[in-house]
């Protein structure tokens, strides 16, 4: 359709892409235009990955993406407008219709809704600038609100009230809140040791606290020995799938294809999870150093750090860390004297839980809809831009620092046989001191709750959500369960992303279950039938139950089973597990209110 961009929209896109060259579409017309060939298939393919950044550029500056702005982006990047529209509409935080310059996304997900999130939404109901939001990763400081402010940086409000939200929407300002970890100062900390203790903006401070020794050691050892140490460490991925990390690295390192890529998955969106945010906000240089080590070891030339849009503070601190590291030769053409190049680029999500799925994330970086790919082939064979790719989440990556410095064997001594190393858990809900806790693998669920100061609320446990909305609820008979991969497996549980969200016995569990059903319906990409329709039917079943009908368990089971068996990706596979566990614990039939 025909529509022209405004001057502001044009400027926003040009600020990202540079002004159009005279031979490009979108440039002011020149008398000799007809003699110049421009564009072509190749440029179209090569520039597609800039689509999401360009959409963000307009959305950030103007507050929404008009037809004129979309057309201008499409002209500049040679993307068909229908495809760009399909990509833009995939992301909850990009708006394709005009909206107020300031918009509040109020978390009413599992942790925030009972902590005041639902109340804020009720108080501000009907305002066009207030929307409910899935988990914002601030569960230890609930309730949380994410603000999109046209022309200014996005911002987050924690411990929110409806008055404060209204104030910010009316033009009030917000201050960044530095992350707090309850264990600060504990000398046994490995992953959290610098958080709250070392200035996250200063490379000097990071170096003074042991930073960049592991990279120096990596350069000394060389890729083969680093990978050998990682394998010896037994380190498994902390994102939920618990895949041995050394095997991924080795597969990519052994590939002869070029270029190869490294991705740090910082799209932490699993409800109840906030550990990666705390790391990125509190120790951003550690993330950059770990990525650099991974890049050198796997033979990748380029790393992408894909971070959810709802983490503006982390993004700013990571960009600062990248800039400082590059200025000191720790990134760039010759990383730390290794003779090898490595660069890191930050990419921002757009409000889509599914983009935490590794192949959806890759499609998102490539400028496509964040729809997961069928596997096999796996990312180590065919990953980002079709190349071999290592993808690890933030917590997994920062373990590399200690492994390189102390050796894989020493690392493997920590924890238990199958679950080596330290592990972060996100404690929130009805506990006295919510926050990210670091323990050696092997502590029980009960230990963790005690570490966080014990139960609050009624003082009696209702259930614990383990591993996120894609995880499951367990009762007090699981308090003695060791939180290890093997310990969880033995009890048909999962550690997932390390969520330990505690609910007391006064919790409205049917409401929590319904919210989880809503979450999966909202976040399903819509690609495959089992998940696209199954998440709707699941929500309808729970809604009918909320309306007073008994739950049709047989139908629920049929719906759950096809999602688990036949969906393309993990979202569909796990979309029913938490709700099923609520049913199994008998919590759906308990008092409603």
């Amino acid at each position: 359709m025909s529509a022209e961009p405004t001057a502001a929209e044009r400027l926003a896109v040009d600020a990202l892409l540079g002004p159009p060259s005279p031979s490009e579409e979108g440039a002011p017309s020149q008398p000799d235009d007809r003699r110049v060939a421009f564009g072509g298939y190749r440029r179209s393919v090569e520039s597609r990955h800039l689509l999401l950044p360009a959409l963000h550029a307009v959305n950030d500056t103007v507050g929404w993406v008009s037809a004129g702005a979309l057309n201008y982006i499409c002209e500049r990047l040679l993307v068909p407008p229908a495809e760009a529209y399909g990509v833009a509409g995939f992301y909850a935080l990009l708006s394709l219709e005009e909206r107020p310059a300031r918009v509040a996304h109020v978390c009413d997900d599992v942790a925030c809704r009972t902590a005041g999130g639902a109340g804020i939404l009720a108080a501000l109901e009907g305002r066009p600038d207030v929307h409910p939001s899935p988990c914002l990763g601030q569960c230890d400081q609930a309730p949380a609100v994410f603000f999109q402010l046209a022309g200014e940086d996005d911002a987050v409000l924690v411990g929110a009230t409806s008055d404060r939200v209204a104030e910010v929407l009316a033009g009030g300002s917000l201050r960044d809140v530095p992350p707090v970890v309850p264990q600060v100062g504990d000398p046994s900390l490995r992953l959290l040791k610098r958080i709250g203790a070392v200035d996250p903006t200063s490379l000097e401070a990071y170096r003074g606290a042991g930073g960049y020794q592991a990279l120096a050691r990596t350069v000394e050892l060389g890729p083969d020995r680093v990978i050998a140490e990682i394998k010896a460490s037994g380190l498994r991925g902390r994102g939920g799938a618990a895949f041995p990390m050394g095997i991924k690295w080795e597969a990519v390192a052994r590939s002869s294809a070029a270029p190869r890529y490294l991705i740090c998955n910082a799209d932490e969106s699993e409800p109840g999870t906030f550990k990666d945010r705390v790391i990125m906000e509190g120790d951003p240089f550690a993330v950059i150093e770990s990525m650099t080590i991974a890049g050198l070891a796997a033979g990748a030339e380029r790393g992408y750090l894909y971070i959810r849009a709802e983490y503006p503070l982390a993004r700013a601190l990571l960009q600062n860390a990248i800039d400082r590291a590059r200025a000191e030769g720790l990134l760039g053409e010759d990383v730390a004297g290794s003779g090898r190049p490595f660069e890191i680029e930050i990419r921002r999500g757009g409000g889509a839980y599914i983009c935490g799925e590794e192949t959806a994330l890759m499609n998102s970086i490539e400028g496509k809809r964040g729809e997961p790919r069928n596997k096999p082939p796996f990312p180590t064979q065919v990953g980002l831009f079709g190349r071999p790719t290592v993808i690890n989440n933030v917590e997994t990556l920062i373990n590399v620092l200690d492994i390189v410095l102390e050796g894989g064997a020493a690392f493997a001594e920590i924890g238990t046989g199958e679950s080596t190393g330290p592990k972060l858990f996100c404690l929130a809900g009805a506990v006295a001191r919510p926050g990210v806790y670091e323990v050696e693998f092997g502590r029980t669920l009960g230990d963790l709750i005690d570490l966080a100061g014990g139960l609050t609320g009624s003082g009696r446990l209702g259930a614990v959500m383990l591993g996120g909305a894609a995880g499951l609820f367990v009762g007090d008979d699981h308090l003695d369960m060791p939180l290890t991969f093997e310990g969880a497996r033995a009890r048909n549980a999962t550690l997932g992303s390390g969520v330990v969200l505690v609910f007391d016995d006064r919790t409205d569990f049917p409401d929590i279950g319904t919210r989880i059903a809503r979450f999966f319906r909202d976040e399903s990409c819509g690609q495959c039938v089992p998940c696209r329709v199954g998440t709707v039917r699941q929500e309808e079943l729970l809604a009918r139950h909320q309306g007073g009908e008994p739950l049709d368990e047989e139908l629920f089971e049929d719906v759950a089973r096809v999602m688990m068996d036949a969906s393309i990706c993990g979202l569909g596979h796990t979309a029913s597990t938490a709700i099923r566990s609520i049913i199994d614990l008998g919590l759906l039939e308990r008092s409603r209110g």
Binding site: M1, P80, P81, A82, G351, C528, V529, R561, A566, H573
Partner: protein
Amino acid sequence: MAEVTLVVDGTTVTVPDGSTILDACRALDNDQPTLCYLDNLTPVNVCRVCVVEVEGNRTLVPSCSRPVEEGMEVDTDSDRVRHSRKMVYEFLASSVDMGLVDDDTVAWMDRYGCDPDRYGPPADPADDRDLRKAGHHRIGPGTAAETVQQPVKVDNELYVRDYSRCILCYKCVEACGEDAQNTFAIAVAGRGFDARISTEFDTGLTDSACVFCGNCIGVCPTGALMFRSEYELRLAGMWEEDGQTVTRTICSYCGVGCNLDLHVQDNRIVKVTSPMDHSVTSGHLCIKGRFGYEYVQELGDLAVTPIDDILRRARIDNRGRRRRPGPRG
């Protein structure tokens, strides 16, 4: 070429390396249901109706796109497979108008015992599906089963888009894009259950990049995309597929040699397709071959047929512009 041997439902079969499980099934005449798969398109494996159980795999796998491996053991009729197929059909039939799917699909649905009514009565049609935003659906009481029922899009004389019949198989997007036409006029928009096929900002086809090749109609398995002529005749209750003849001919517009199948009812061409297995077209045509048949029939010129009045609605009236529309390409 290297070969791979595998076992499908207890029968050993050897196929060329790079074949899919579906290829292996076909080599055994072991029929499998498909919806989003078509021989002339790249598999997108989204409908999941062709899933099979492969030993050693935690979840079921799509047979249309999973390459065979040496020693693979495939079960196409296990309890899990039957359950998933039944549910996929049920999910679709409970949310989409499947009234025009082919007989094979109906037979598969019967075989698996689909009961789409068990999700409750269908919800009222919606007129806002094109406006829905990712991550924000309306929360209902759950007493009616949500559907994709919505008004049909009639914005040109050549074809209509009835997305109440759309199962989101992606075939039209592929045919419009890299698999055939390279026009990219349509794409999937929205997310989740609100995902839909759309032009940019849901603009009408005449304002979009559409070149009216009609290749999207050619691949649509549910009748969501339909010739305007067929649509109008169906609306008037005058579409008589059983009484139609199909005549194969060669397109006269240019020298490529595309085969055309002329579907004729009451001595009138009512639709044009191309055989999927034709080496020149693979089933795809251009606007001239698919829609440019007006010059062979002057509606109302012969003894008046009852359908002529209807067919006039599906005709570009170019009398004012070109006195004698010629057969040149």
